[in-house]
Symmetry: C2
Subunit: 271 residues, 2 copies
DNA sequence: TTTTTTAATGGCTCTAAGCCATTTGATAAG
DNA sequence: CTTATCAAATGGCTTAGAGCCATTAAAAAA
């Protein structure tokens, strides 16, 4: 489903039989004469909120704008949709993400699209916002490929402690809320880990995202019952008692639990 | 939150102090000389899947295309974003919806945005898809305001029994899935009713959307415990025993229940 | 050997869903 | 007038899964 995990966009569509469509024979001629300049079109961009856990805290990747408008301001990772290079919107998101992080296979989900006349001083513009989860131990960018700076900004509350270019503060806040909402009832945060991990480590990641501590017994029961993990047979000896290591069984999308975590502000409330 | 109910888009953003932004003083000059024609831009449209319950079945509004491409084919309600008239994307959706249905205040939610090089034969195009819920007893369009036909198509399974223009089949299927998913854990389907209604009527609407029968006791308990309904004091005498009438307490967004309806194919599965 | 620390389990309560029989209040049929 | 019928509404159970908290387990540190 669109907007709920990485997956190919719709690749084909079908048309009714020609005989059912009046004047369809003229469509070819119409397209030959089609002038793309007749309507004014908005600027179209893609912005991605890239989340990562570093030292038990949640971070977002931002970079300094090197061009007008908002030159010199910090902004989300993103850019214009390139009609020549990009086949679809997700291509744009992945391209920019790869440029900044060298991560090829993040969890990538479409969050929403904001389009209006005032968000960009250049005029009517549309941005489709994605968010990505990348694993803590993912390879960092070896050397900065670009001259302008990129950095991880720590999440505090509903955002980072500073203003971003355009409406990016609000876009970030929205993605953060979506991530936290989904952590209440899906296995989404698992994508912030890679390879094998202990249940303790996974619980810690949930706690970092949700910014509250969870009850260990419930957490283990919930995740083991979901059947989305498998033991590697190995153990982690990082802490006192050795802990069993698990890996994520690759699934087409996040697991959805039957119940929300309680006392969370989700149940009984409005979205 | 964007994409989860009708609400205003972000209205303002803030910038860092000018002193913190290098060369910011030149931004005005940059904007004065800005040439919007330097980048190629995609076509931008908004399509809306309008749902309504008629005679105990779920329907979508479609209309026949009067222009190329796909002239004469049935398609979702939608059209180009008009940079002069529309202040934002939701404006476009509401304008088109009002044109076709005369309904001013539907439940309107952004579903997703699809943008790629192949969905429109005219080339790279982006469509932002909304879905709307309108009440069964909502005023129908008095007289057809337009020459080309519009009709309600019955939902069967994952769509209607015929092909639509462009990728509209897939867009419809996606919205339908979203609606059904949300019916499992939110009060969303309540927007398919208006004014006062009995719990039996509300349950029927859920059953139509979910295409399965629900257990009466659980349904009543769930909805009454949610605290989103209030009694009108009136009774409905439509069936044998009089039934208490309720109205929906207007809330900022749909109520989210702590648990999903069971045996639904949602719990324990992937989105 | 004892203490400390984290992993993992046992066993309870509690909430809300499923299930199904029963009661209630009206109309329809005899 | 009495009885049958039917949907509305309730009672009272079982069940799944979350919260809570004490206990046991396995290792390192003291």
């Amino acid at each position: 489903m669109i907007g709920n995990g990485p997956e190919p966009e719709i690749l084909s569509y079908s048309r009714p039989k020609e005989s059912d469509v009046p004047h369809n024979l003229n469509e070819e001629a119409f397209l030959r004469d089609y002038d793309p300049a007749v309507y004014k079109r908005p600027n179209c961009t893609v912005d991605t909120v890239i989340f990562k856990v570093i030292d038990s805290e949640l971070y977002v990747l931002i970079n300094k704008r090197q061009a007008y408008p908002f030159k010199g301001c910090w902004a989300l990772v993103g850019g214009f949709v390139d009609l020549e290079q990009d086949k679809n919107l997700e291509d744009t998101a992945r391209k920019k993400l790869l440029e900044k992080t060298a991560v090829k296979t993040p969890y990538l989900e479409q969050y929403a699209t904001v389009g209006n006349a005032w968000r960009d001083p250049r005029g009517w513009s549309i941005t489709t916002v994605y968010f990505a989860l990348i694993a803590a131990d993912e390879l960092e960018l070896e050397a900065p490929r670009e001259a302008w700076p990129t950095r991880w900004a720590r999440i505090e509350g509903a955002g980072i402690g500073e203003n971003l270019a355009f409406d990016h503060d609000a876009l970030l806040a929205g993605c953060l809320k979506r991530l936290r909402d989904k952590a209440q009832y899906t296995s989404l945060p698992i994508h912030l880990l890679n390879g094998s991990f202990t249940l303790g480590e996974l619980q810690k990641v949930y706690e970092i995202v949700l910014d509250k501590s969870l009850e260990g017994k419930s957490f283990r029961r919930r995740l083991l019952a979901a059947g989305i993990l498998e033991t590697t047979g190995e153990f982690s000896y990082e802490s006192k008692r050795p802990a069993r290591l698990y890996r994520y069984k690759k699934e087409p999308g996040p697991h959805v639990f039957m119940r929300n975590l309680e006392g969370s502000g989700r149940g009984g409330k409005n979205v």
